[in-house]
Subunit: 231 residues, 2 copies
DNA sequence: GGCACTACTGACAGGTTCTGACAGTAATGT
DNA sequence: ACATTACTGTCAGAACCTGTCAGTAGTGCC
């Protein structure tokens, strides 16, 4: 990525956020040194782009129309289409529906050349009916996470031992070949991970839970795994 | 005026006009050669700025009112973001890069409300360094499919038996937890499927192949699996 | 006041990209 | 066939860019 491309991406990055971002975070996102970020920011300012910064806070862009209309490049388009197809195959029905309609919107703005490019991609991702049950589990759990419903679940562990418990679904982790639910378990008073394919029964309860600083996906990722939550 | 500054100015120039402007006029306005203008225009196009040109007419930026506004619903947005993250985790580096920049473009046009919504989604998809080798295999095979290069491969089957063969990579099939390559095998004179994680070595050959009505992904799906190729 | 930390600027050697000039290609018109 | 126009590819020389490191300024703590 050369400098001019990077400057465009930096404008996009700043425009994509609601909050300020530090030079260090930008450097990491762009794969360059912090010194280069300072230079880039200065280059933007000299070009008239209203970037503002504050020590201890980071950089923001003032909302002004500094972006021309943008269209997707061939690589970007392919990434979107493949990703959408994966969502249709590996998540749930409602999200699949969202993916399909998003794709129609994206296709509506393509040039003829890009449309042809989209026809020639080598990917095929079959949507198997045998995965319908899993898609339903996925949908229930997503709803529970989003709406913060406690869940009453019957779960089989790796030894096929059945347990029944009430859990607070905090987040959905995607791995190669499986999804796991990060939850706070009322039975064990601790975080637990549950594979979607091992739930035998699931009931969303009317009762809601609240995340706290000590019970949240960010807390788990930070203090239990030692990973910063980019989300 | 360096190149990055000039590109910003060129966007402003093109956006300020209702009519096309020739490369020569741009060159004069910018104080550079015509050759450089051609390069600059190409750089803008590669970043996704919809610059269009016609011999004898000149260049314009496609007006925003000729592009339908891209407005996504919360579900559509979530589907796009999750899909993009999966592409980053489970495909190759270049496609991941496309996904990232597509995401920035999408995020940069969101309303404040949708930006907030995007921050609160329950998905986390870790991008593991342990998958870097597989991402490299994925990238090679994608290139081979797209550019129609024959591939010289060393492959381990499910009994760990090693074989070496020349194959024509036709398409990439995504399943839960793994990718397979659909290829025409010169050794067996038949279609064969190869799991990405079982390739021990891969060399893209200079030699190209051509698909025919009897050797193609559509033919395989239709006549071998009995499935219509949605394309 | 001294020290540590944070965010930034200046300088430098080595590396990378960019430029104009020129040759070549493709399309169009006479 | 020839001329013109708009574009692409190549090359040598020029210009710019990068990360590293040292230094500056500001802030907070002891």
């Amino acid at each position: 990525m050369n400098k001019s491309e990077r400057l465009f991406q930096l404008v996009l990055l700043l425009r994509s956020r609601r909050t300020a971002i530090t030079a260090e975070a930008i450097a990491e996102a762009m794969g360059v040194s912090v010194r280069t970020v300072y230079r880039d920011v200065q280059a933007l300012v000299l070009s008239g782009v209203p970037v503002e910064g504050e020590p201890g806070v980071g950089y923001m862009i003032r909302p002004a129309n500094h972006l021309p209309p943008l269209v997707f490049t061939p690589d970007e388009l392919q990434a979107l289409l493949v990703g959408n197809r994966m969502v249709q195959a590996f998540t749930d029905q409602d999200l699949a529906k969202g993916a399909r309609s998003a794709e129609l919107k994206i296709r509506s703005i393509l040039t003829e050349h890009l449309k042809q490019h989209a026809e020639q991609q080598p990917y095929r991702i079959p949507i198997l009916e045998s995965d319908d049950g899993l898609r339903e589990v996925h949908g229930k759990l997503r709803r529970a996470c989003e709406q913060r419903h406690k869940v009453r679940a019957i779960y089989l562990d790796e030894k096929q031992e059945k347990s029944e418990r009430t859990i607070w679904p905090l987040g959905m982790i995607g791995w190669t070949g499986k999804w796991t639910l990060l939850a706070w378990c009322e039975l064990r008073h601790a975080y637990r991970n549950f594979r979607f394919d091992r739930f035998e029964a699931l009931d969303l309860l009317e009762e809601n839970f609240r995340t706290t600083s000590d019970i949240s996906i960010a807390h788990y990722l930070q203090s239990v795994i030692g990973m910063r939550d980019p989300g």
